[in-house]
Symmetry: C2
Subunit: 189 residues, 2 copies
């Protein structure tokens, strides 16, 4: 709700700590120290610890949606290019905003029901983009299989990259995206 610049910065720091330590192991005292304030002052910005988590996830998902929409807007319209665009956008988002997304992926269950209900709308909107692109690729005969399963598998493969991919290595996120797309569409070289 509130979006003061101070709160945004605190959210960014919280995301980092949540990734490093996990939500449960991150204490309000650790959060406060990282932010350069005392633990009590934290509750001036956030109603409770839960709300910090929700803020982190909301911020991340919001960005992902924005980046993907913009990327599709400027993408060529043929199904293969759009598939590649979505894969690239997904990984771009995943690694520029890494902390927030890792939290969204692995600490989702820690949200209370209210926050989950609110945030799952955002997430569904994002997944809808994927389903749309994959449907087009299926109809064009570019890939084959069940639309539901294909999108789950692709998203799974992409999301799992946060567990092993090292941005400092020789491969760029775009390399990964292209490799994945190349893997699921029949070769034509």
């Amino acid at each position: 709700m509130n979006a003061s610049p101070r709160r945004k910065e605190l959210t960014r720091l919280a995301a980092q700590l949540f990734v490093q330590e996990g939500f449960d192991k991150t204490t309000v005292r650790m959060l406060a120290q990282e932010m350069g304030i005392k633990s009590g002052s934290l509750f001036h910005h956030f109603k409770d610890k839960q709300e910090i988590l929700a803020a982190v996830i909301e911020e991340g998902t919001h960005n992902a949606l924005r980046i993907a929409r913009r990327a599709l807007e400027y993408s060529p319209t043929d199904p293969e290019a759009r598939l590649r665009t979505m894969a690239r956008a997904h990984l771009e988002t995943l690694f520029t905003d890494r902390n927030a997304h890792v939290v969204a992926l692995f600490e989702w269950r820690r949200l209370d029901d209210e926050a989950k209900a609110h945030l799952s709308h955002l997430r569904d909107a994002y997944e809808a983009l994927w389903v749309e692109v994959i449907d087009a690729a299926l109809e064009a005969g570019l890939i084959h299989g069940d639309r539901f399963l294909v999108s789950r598998f692709v998203l799974g493969a992409l999301n799992w990259t946060v567990r092993w991919y090292d941005p400092a290595g020789p491969r760029t996120p775009d390399d990964l995206a292209d490799e994945l797309v190349g893997m699921i569409i029949p070769a034509k070289r």
Copy 2:
């Protein structure tokens, strides 16, 4: 180390709770109650909470390795069949021993360094099976791409199934496995 039947049963119950609540949120009192004993008695079976986690993960990974090896043993030897066999074995393990594997996948970071070192050998042995099968498929020209990336993508897609797959639904784990293999090898229907 120790493997009394009592301890094995306790490990199974612990896995269930760890999945339900997460490792950090699961208290020794909750564990004890689920086991029908008092919290103090728990430490007769396990040195500390960490050791329970390690026992859960060890048990699961051990089973996965056993099942995969046995499946490969009885599999036809052509690369496509072996790929399908590994995918099926992976999902079979993932869903018969679901709790243990979810814990292994998502609570790994909670292990102390010593346990990590010990258990990562087991995990590496399992991944080696995958690399071997995927190498054969690449050499046979069945799939294309980088061996490292392909195996990461495939494992990612498979592991991610625990986040969305409902065993009570219409699809069997074998269906999923076949669909995934069908997705990455060029169609020939």
